[in-house]
């Protein structure tokens, strides 16, 4: 009763205090006992029928409900079960009470419960009058349901479910509860048994009341026998003592019996003669240290087992070992097996259970299955199967790979011997194998043009292409005479259209020392070689011609066979003429350094900038093979700067330019519309020119210095450089100004390039890259033609709306300068440092960009919606500019 009400009040209190508003309605609805939280409350018959405790509680509840009914939750107070305000002493829970009946904090103050000094009343304690129980020191709440010592009615462990069920079943069957056992006695008489007893009972073992054995065997182990000492438990005691079913209270395994101190002691006393009166450590060993080995304790060698003996010896040893207290399980089993001879004190526990007969035949013999018969000629040795296949395959594969690699290396163009001219400046290598190939050509051109201009290395493709195509004809490279004959044979055959035999006869006309047999052999060889390289011969000229473009030819004309119309034509031709042999076109492809690394090959263009790809993940334009010119490392930087170019609309195809213009040195003759279509190619080309003008600086320009970045992205204050090279910079600028030859050297540059490039690929005067480079050069020349030669650097290209007086052709205001303008202007200066030039260029560009932007903003503010409606500030294609 009290428990129920206590729980109720606890919950009620919490509802009142914590659920405030929700609870109000409930309490108004049923103002009597709100026991029920779920379902429909049972209606009580009468309030007066309740027991007084409930009635008092209800009254208290009403009392504490009334004043709080209208209060918001934060003003309500928590009340205890008697309706008094709860004084919380705990931190958050409020569950602790302090003092006797929580008297701490009351008006009366803390009142210790009832303190009686034990000094004065010592007698009372001694007499045991006041027996202290834990409950004496507990509060009322502690004894509740949620206290630390809840009081509840609970079945004792003997009468748990199993036993009760069994008893109930026995009662229903018919009171077959055992001899003389009344169920009531079994029910009411508890027996303090262990787990084993309960298990046995669960298995069906029935306690039988039988007289105690007359032997009076008081087993000291049967301490778990009942303390009541009734006769019925004797059987259980016997059985338990026989089975030795003890509840395992330790964590050791089954059958383990620990050290027997008594035996060990007796053994040592028997064997050893020197037993001191004191044992153990006297001092020197701390509590946390392990004990030292007993060095001085006596030991006999008989305690050690030196051999693995037979069973008898082992048994003897075991018996000896048993003296040391440790009883091995097998020894114990042995002693269990031979009951007869081992007739010591625990006789009972060796006896089998009643009703069981001990087996006589010893242990169960396991059936043995003989191993399979070995074949007659079996050699018990494993010889690994000869796996020539896998190994051979792997070896062959490796060899093939190596051959392939070697062949690939051999296929690469061999660098010619470097020239020995004193005038040459070694240009930066762009490829691993263009060591000197462009060099001698450039040397010759420089000598030919007899200018002081430092000549750029030619495009590697321009040189590699003839080399690779010449490879088709290098069939007899080891025999120069034969090779010469083969060349003339080919010439006769292809150019003159002679027949095979006739061509060979003419080719071998002047050859001495050739027998007829040799001639025949050679003729056949030539024929075969010519046939095998026929496809290459077919493809090589076409590939050359397809790769080169007449100067000024449009992009659409370029790669006409690539266009859809060309494809359709191809297909039509293929349909008409059967299988058209495939044509091969070789071009340069610059793999990304990481691609080379992932493919485990050396980078074919090792000195290139490591990152060809700009940050936006756009492709490198290498594979497009626009410029094929050496491109400096700063190209990616420029690509970042001029990223708007990528979004610029594709330029109009440039007007065709007659090839005659190539040889024309005057830049004025080259119209500005020769510019390459893409402005990005402009930048790259411009940079190529820039690096070409300063070859010595390109190596160190492989990574742009911080000054460059600072000059580009930092303050545009040009003279803020407090670095050590600021003065140097100025000096360089002066030098650049001094060395700048003005406009009269620019045509020479263009001319040099034109002559050089045409010399590089004489067979293909219509080479595309040549034309493009030429176009770029002439573009720059054209652009600079109008400028006063005295100040190539000082003229900002996008002129402000008040145009500078020095610029007669007034470009449109949105037009920033082509970024390469100053570079091209100073291209002939050999002593200028290209890196610094680049920096200066960057600064200039930056300044000009800013200026132009400012101007544009101003203009927009001034006249909104005028011709400056081009919203984006972009570099426009030059052709457009020319149109304007």
């Amino acid at each position: 009763m009290s428990r129920r009400s206590g729980r109720l009040y606890y919950e009620d209190r919490h509802r009142d205090s914590y659920q405030g508003d929700d609870n109000k309605d409930d309490d108004e609805e049923d103002d009597d006992d709100s026991d029920e939280f779920l379902g429909t409350p049972l209606e009580l018959l009468d309030d007066s029928d309740d027991d007084p405790a409930t009635a008092a509680a209800k009254q208290a509840k009403r009392r504490r409900q009334q004043p709080q009914s209208g209060l918001p939750i934060h003003q309500q107070r928590a009340l205890d079960e008697r309706g008094r305000p709860v004084r919380f002493h705990g931190a958050f829970t409020g569950g602790f009470s302090a003092g006797h009946f929580n008297s701490v904090g009351t008006v009366e103050g803390f009142k210790p419960g009832e303190f009686r000094s034990s000094r004065r009343d010592r007698q009372g304690d001694q007499r045991g009058q006041r027996e202290r129980r834990p409950e004496d020191f507990m509060d009322a709440e502690d004894l509740g349901d949620f206290g630390i010592a809840p009081r509840e009615v609970r079945a004792r462990p003997e009468y748990d479910g199993i036993e009760m069920r069994r008893l109930a079943a026995a009662a229903t069957v018919g009171g077959r509860g055992g001899a003389g056992a009344d169920p009531l006695a079994e029910l009411l008489l508890p027996s303090e048994t262990g787990l084993g007893d309960r298990l046995l009972r669960h298995l069906g073992w029935r306690r039988r009341r039988q007289p105690r054995p007359t032997t009076g065997n008081e087993n000291p182990d049967s301490d778990d026998g009942d303390g009541a000492g009734d006769a019925g438990d004797a059987a259980a005691v016997d059985l338990l003592s026989k089975l030795r079913l003890k509840p395992g209270r330790d964590t050791r395994g089954l059958g383990y019996s620990g050290l027997d101190a008594g035996r060990a002691l007796s053994s040592t006393t028997a064997s050893s003669t020197s037993v001191g009166g004191m044992r153990g450590q006297a001092f020197g060993v701390g509590a946390l240290e392990s004990e030292d080995a007993d060095v001085f304790g006596s030991d006999s060698m008989a305690n050690y087992d030196f051999s693995i003996g037979t069973e008898a010896e082992e048994a003897a040893l075991a018996s000896r070992r048993r003296n040391f207290g440790w009883t091995a399980p097998d020894a114990k089993r042995a002693s269990l097996n031979d009951v007869d001879d081992d007739d010591d004190d625990n006789d009972d526990e060796d006896r089998p259970l009643k009703g069981f007969v001990q087996r006589r035949g010893g242990t169960v013999r396991r059936k043995a299955y003989p191993p399979p018969e070995l074949p007659a000629g079996f050699v018990p040795m494993h010889r690994p199967a000869p796996a020539p296949d896998a190994l051979d395959v792997a070896l062959r594969q490796m060899r093939a790979e190596a051959e392939e690699a070697a062949e690939a290396e051999a296929d690469l163009p061999k660098p010619p011997t470097p020239p020995t001219s004193s005038k040459t400046i070694i240009p930066p290598r762009n490829s691993r194998w263009d060591v000197g190939a462009p060099l001698d050509k450039s040397n010759s051109t420089s000598v030919a043009s007899s200018t002081a201009a430092v000549v750029a290395p030619a495009a590697p493709a321009a040189t590699s292409a003839p080399l690779t195509t010449a490879r088709w004809h290098q069939q007899f490279g080891d025999d120069p005479a034969k090779q010469a004959r083969y060349h003339s044979y080919l010439r006769w055959r292809t150019a003159a259209g002679a027949e095979h035999a006739e061509a060979y006869a003419k080719a071998a006309d002047g050859a001495e020392g050739l027998t007829d047999w040799e001639r025949n052999l050679e003729r056949d060889q030539f024929a075969r070689a010519a046939d095998t390289t026929a496809a290459a011969d077919r493809s090589a000229p076409t590939s050359l011609s397809s790769r080169f473009l007449p100067a000024g030819a449009s992009d659409q004309q370029y790669g006409a066979d690539d266009s859809l119309a060309g494809k359709a034509a191809d297909e039509a031709a293929a349909d008409a003429g059967g299988d058209k042999p495939p044509t091969r076109r070789l071009s340069e492809w610059r793999p990304h350094a990481m691609v080379c690394r992932r493919l485990n090959v050396p980078n074919p263009y090792p000195e290139e900038a490591p990152a060809k790809r700009d940050s936006s993940g756009r492709p490198s334009q290498m594979s497009a093979a626009v410029g094929q010119a050496p491109i400096a490392s700063a190209q990616s930087l420029f690509a970042c700067l001029f990223e708007d170019n990528a979004n610029a609309p594709a330029a109009a195809p440039p007007a065709p330019n007659p090839i005659a213009n190539v040889q024309q040195p005057a830049p004025a003759a080259v119209p500005a519309s020769d510019a390459p279509a893409s402005t990005q190619s402009q930048t790259s080309l411009a940079l190529s020119v820039a690096t070409a003008t300063a070859p010595a600086s390109v190596v160190e320009a492989s990574r742009p210095s911080m000054d460059l970045f600072r000059s580009v992205f930092g303050s545009d204050d040009e003279n803020d450089g407090d670095g050590p090279d600021s003065g140097d910079k100025e000096g360089d600028a002066d030098a650049a100004d001094r060395h700048d030859g003005g406009s009269e050297e620019r045509p020479q540059l263009a001319k040099a390039q034109a002559s050089k490039d045409t010399a590089a690929a004489p067979a293909a005067a219509t080479e595309q890259s040549t034309s493009r480079m030429l176009a770029a050069g002439s573009l720059f020349a054209h652009l600079f033609e109008d400028q006063p030669p005295s100040e190539p650097f000082r003229t900002p290209a996008p002129p402000p709306p008040p145009p500078p007086p020095l610029q007669p052709p007034k470009p449109q205001q949105q037009q920033p300068p082509p970024p390469s303008k100053p570079v091209a202007a100073q291209s002939s200066s050999a002593s200028t440092d290209g890196d610094r030039e680049l920096r200066r260029l960057e600064k200039k560009l930056r300044k000009e960009l800013k200026k132009a932007k400012k101007i544009k903003k101003k203009r927009k503010h001034k006249q909104s919606g005028s011709e400056s409606d081009s919203d984006s500030y972009e570099f426009m294609p030059v052709s457009k500019k020319a149109d304007k």
Binding site: A536, D579, P582, C596
Partner: protein
């Protein structure tokens, strides 16, 4: 010389692509139901499904160590999977159109993906960058097949060009075959390239010179994507066909004569309700070592094996 060993109905809708794994014991199928599945083809045992694509899976590839897979699909995504855990290690969404071709580099550190957006993108699988390490934009039309063989990257494009990007020489060789290429396969020794053209003719191209070494015809393409392959040991040229009820056609690589046409059994009537192009063998994959071929037709995958090296399992 081959007979049908096992037929696996994948339950993926149409099987767009089937590939053996690196050792040939398992196979990967990319299906129209946006899933990539790993099978034991000899036992028709589904091992794992890889889900994550938004649309059909059109191309699958397996790394050399079988630790990773790659798939590309209609959803323009290239996914790089962890085989064991089934999770997508990386998803590259840089392509502008559907990805129809994939291949790993020999040591599976680079992945090449060809797409309808006329580009081939090379992905560095060691880095976590989402951007391709390089972009090959030479193709003028859709890239239909990609193969990476040692340091060469072969691409086939509908513009009729067979491109070989040689990373060692830094050179690009373009072979103009004048016909749109719908398939590509490098021979095992890497000396030749087999290109499948849309005029129902397979052409064998010499890698170094670009010569046409042989051509094989007899199958029908019907403007569909039909793959080709070269069997282990470079003895046979295999190609799917759109003719008849779906055939796998084998030619002798050297002589060029047609060896056999392996007719695929028609779809079961119970599954005939599924509308698939059931009469086209669209994907072919040859076992890396043995004389076995996997083909995909409709919603099923067929395993063909040489009866001389027949598997112990009974054909189902």
């Amino acid at each position: 010389p081959e007979q049908l060993q096992c037929r696996t109905v994948c339950g993926q809708g149409a099987v767009r692509c089937v590939r053996f794994n690196a050792d040939g014991n398992y196979c990967l199928t990319g299906g129209a139901d946006k899933s990539l599945k790993l099978w034991n083809p000899a036992k028709s045992l589904l091992l794992r499904s890889y889900l994550g694509h938004g649309q059909e899976v059109l191309a699958v590839a397996c790394a050399c160590d079988n630790a990773n897979l790659a798939s590309g699909g209609e959803d323009k995504m290239v996914a790089y999977w962890d085989t064991a855990s089934g999770t997508a290690v990386r998803k590259y969404r840089s392509h502008l159109a559907r990805v129809g071709a994939l291949d790993f580099s020999p040591d599976a550190t680079l992945l090449a993906s060809g797409s309808v957006d006329c580009t081939v993108r090379l992905w560095d699988l060691r880095s976590k960058a989402q951007a391709p390490v390089q972009l090959l934009t030479d193709a003028r039309d859709s890239v239909t097949a990609v193969a990476v063989h040692s340091w060469r990257i072969y691409t086939a494009s509908l513009d009729g060009r067979l491109r070989c990007y040689d990373a060692r020489k830094g050179r690009l060789a373009e072979d103009n075959l004048c016909k749109p290429l719908i398939g590509l396969c490098a021979t095992r020794d890497g000396r030749c390239i087999l290109a499948s053209c849309s005029d129902a003719r397979l052409r064998l191209i010499d890698r170094d010179t670009g010569d046409l070494l042989a051509s094989y015809s007899g199958h029908s393409v019907a403007d569909l994507s039909v793959e080709c392959d070269v069997s282990a040991g470079d003895s046979l040229v295999l190609s799917g066909s759109a003719g008849g009820s779906g055939e796998l056609i084998c030619w002798d690589l050297l002589s060029g004569e047609l060896r056999c046409r392996l007719r695929h059994p028609a779809a079961e009537p119970a599954r005939a309700g599924v509308r698939t192009q059931a009469s086209v063998v669209q994907s072919v994959s040859a076992h890396p070592k043995l004389c076995r071929v996997l083909t995909a037709m409709g919603d099923a995958v067929f395993l063909w094996a040489d009866p001389a090296h027949a598997i112990a399992d009974e054909p189902q």
